[in-house]
Symmetry: C4
Subunit: 263 residues, 4 copies
């Protein structure tokens, strides 16, 4: 096996038994996790004031490691059958979602003179969190969750459409009812839609609420429909889980002849 293939296998998700690759995976995921912790703590003024140099150095070291990782992936990607060509294959690789995220994550190293908000660039590094999606291959439980949710994505999208429709209708009704009494709060329909989504999801901050009788009646109806908005996906995913669990047990029998069914 060539050096390029070896590097490729190291960087890829480890197959069972490949301990070096597992170590590399955990190392990179660990660094991502530490980066997120650092980014989070950096915004807490007292902590940042204590160790400004430490944060800056950790930042630079992380960027250098991520850059090395990106260059190695770019170099070794041609070992993968899907990206064989030295130029075209690499271009195809560069535009895969994970590669784009990796590139965005290391940009801050190269863009200090562009005057962009560097802190914004750092939040982009958060997108590397999506590499946690690779955990899917390690966790049977995450795979089950993913199968159930993706298996019902059409129905979940339909529920979203119903939710948005309800929201627009409710917000428009509430706007016409409450606008005169509270012109500063319910000042426009988009503003009222903010009230609508906070009520429909039963969060209920209390920054906006109706004061007229008719407004309270509409709000009560929306709140009750919010119950339905929770019940529909809960029931849908419940049925999805029941399906998946039965499939994975595969022990259904024909009631007529008693033979086992594959399903």
């Amino acid at each position: 096996m060539s050096l390029k293939q070896h590097v490729h296998d190291l960087l890829a998700v480890s197959a069972d038994g490949d301990f070096h690759s597992r170590a590399v995976d955990l190392g990179i995921l660990g660094l991502i996790f530490l980066n997120v912790v650092a980014l989070t703590l950096e915004t807490v003024a007292p902590i940042h004031a204590l160790y400004p140099a430490a944060f800056a150095w950790f930042e630079r070291i992380s960027l250098i490691i991520f850059t090395i990782e990106y260059v190695l992936r770019l170099w070794s990607c041609t070992a993968d059958a899907r990206y064989r060509g030295p130029v075209l294959g690499r271009l195809r690789f560069v535009f895969t979602p994970l590669a784009i995220i990796d590139l965005l994550a290391i940009l801050p190293l190269f863009l200090p003179l562009l005057g962009l908000d560097l802190r914004f660039m750092r939040i982009v590094r958060l997108l590397r969190f999506f590499r946690l999606a690779k955990l899917f291959r390690y966790s049977r439980a995450l795979r089950l969750l993913g199968r159930v949710v993706l298996g019902k994505r059409e129905e979940l999208a339909s529920i979203c459409i119903v939710l948005i429709t309800l929201l627009v209708i409710a917000a428009s009704l509430m706007y016409f009812v409450e606008h005169d009494d509270q012109p500063d709060k319910f000042s426009s329909i988009p503003q009222t839609m903010w009230w609508g989504v906070i009520t429909l999801t039963t969060v209920g901050y209390g920054d906006y609420y109706p004061v007229t009788g008719a407004g309270k009646f509409i709000a009560a109806c929306i709140a009750v429909l919010g119950i339905g908005m929770f019940a529909l996906p809960a029931g849908l995913l419940g049925a999805g889980f029941v399906d998946e669990l039965q499939k994975s047990r595969g022990d259904r029998h024909c009631p007529h002849c008693g033979e086992r069914l594959e399903d």
Copy 2:
């Protein structure tokens, strides 16, 4: 096929393969969607101030198109077997729910001199949103949602009755307990029912809440019952989805003996 039949088929929901009818459907749905967006943005004062003439013209053009559509539907409805008679058939058609909504939506064109709040008339045009119900025929997922919810409508109605009963009893108890301490807030039983529904649905704005010990105890009980109010429909719809998903798999045959599988 006569011109009338042709127009009727164009306006009706398209059958598979009828691309002209599909285009008409999408055109009308698109115009409804744009109307809703315009109505929403019109209430945002800065945007409306920028383009008052554009909003007004879009309003008039939409109304003219919707009027033409209504007249065409009224004319061609006799091609449908259900509305065959030239006068009686058309009258029956005029009173179907979708036709009434269409009529309400174009009324603003004819009622400027009646002094009604024109903005209220425009919100009526939102009712055309219910034409989105025609999407049902295009989306297998929306049809599944519809079948499950309609299939359990008796039980859902029962849950509503239980909810309203709980609400009235809780509001009356809370009124007698909190009225003396907070006469401005819990000033009457309907007012307390507003507190009740906001707590039972766990929205919890915070505009009303008990301050006495007994009031807090009642409120705690209501909040916990609110959990049940979410659990009942969630469980019910879950069982409904399990049913429907099994039914839709139901036309399968045992690969061994060839008998039909009921489940």
Copy 3:
């Protein structure tokens, strides 16, 4: 059939086809409903000011009708096999839950000189709402709900015990963490338990919330456990509904010999 038996059958829940009894049932339920509406509206000061005499007369007439109904039930109850004895049978009847509720509901007619809060006595008349439980026999859907909830009452009670245990532990922790920072709000453990139940049920009024870092961490854990508090009964009742719906279809077959199972 004697007059007594006839009166008994009229007052009891109607069997199918007994239209007179059905009319009596609906009449009494209608009067209860009107009473609730009147009691509710009476507390709205403007409405009460408009029609004080009307409310008072409706009150007296309702009380007279309910008293007549109670006396008739007491007289005719011996026609029922369970309360045959003229004295002992009637005593046994008087202490059944529904009879006690009926008695409490008519007490205001006889206790004006006892100086008890008459309005409190009127709220007792709300307890007649439990007669709505008789609706159970008319509504297949309410019966299904009742069977599922009662069938899982042990498990639901266990969930309540878990909820109360969580509540006490969380309130004690939060009390010790937040008491010094907010001595007026988190002034005692029972007071903190109010915060706890409002957070665990995700109502979140906003009258009490932590301000220290440790307090916010505990509150975040409680809020997340609140998700579980909703998920447990939802899943439990979902499984209960699946069971009931399968039982009522009764179409399970032995996978070995193919014969139908009663279940």
Copy 4:
């Protein structure tokens, strides 16, 4: 049976029919419960002011009883096969979770001079609540709940990971969007994560909420994802309950052919 064995059996969870052991169990659980009530009421200033001596004496008596119980358990544990050695066996017993909790609960009797917050030590006595876990053996319903939740612990842990990931990403986005407008509220990412968890769990106190348009859009998305955060565990536990209920019916035989039914 030796005295040691006898004491051991008394203190252990009673087997069916052993009434003395049952009495000891209920006595100890009752004392734990009374301790919790006393601890709770002690924090209510008016009540504590009324009976300070009573609380103090109840405290001392409880500690003495719990100490005697601990010593007896320590002495008799060698009767249990798992802790046979006089020194090593007892050491192993001392480090079991329940024994550690028992020790922490009686420490206040021995640490008054250490200057630790005695009230904090008393809250530790709350940990004896976990002895309620012994109730599991008495309650079929609690065992069912335990089996379902523990059976799905991998998937529930995955949902927690998804929740934390969503939280971090949402909090970072919201921090960068709202920080300039509300520097006191959204002052750091950990602070914003507090907003995030309160919104994702739909508690919605209202102490923090966005005021910018972009912030409201992010908040709306988080609130809607909060619905999913409720739906996933509800559906998962629902499927778990369906499984368990079918398993518990599983030892049935077909009445026609006598074969065992798997289902």
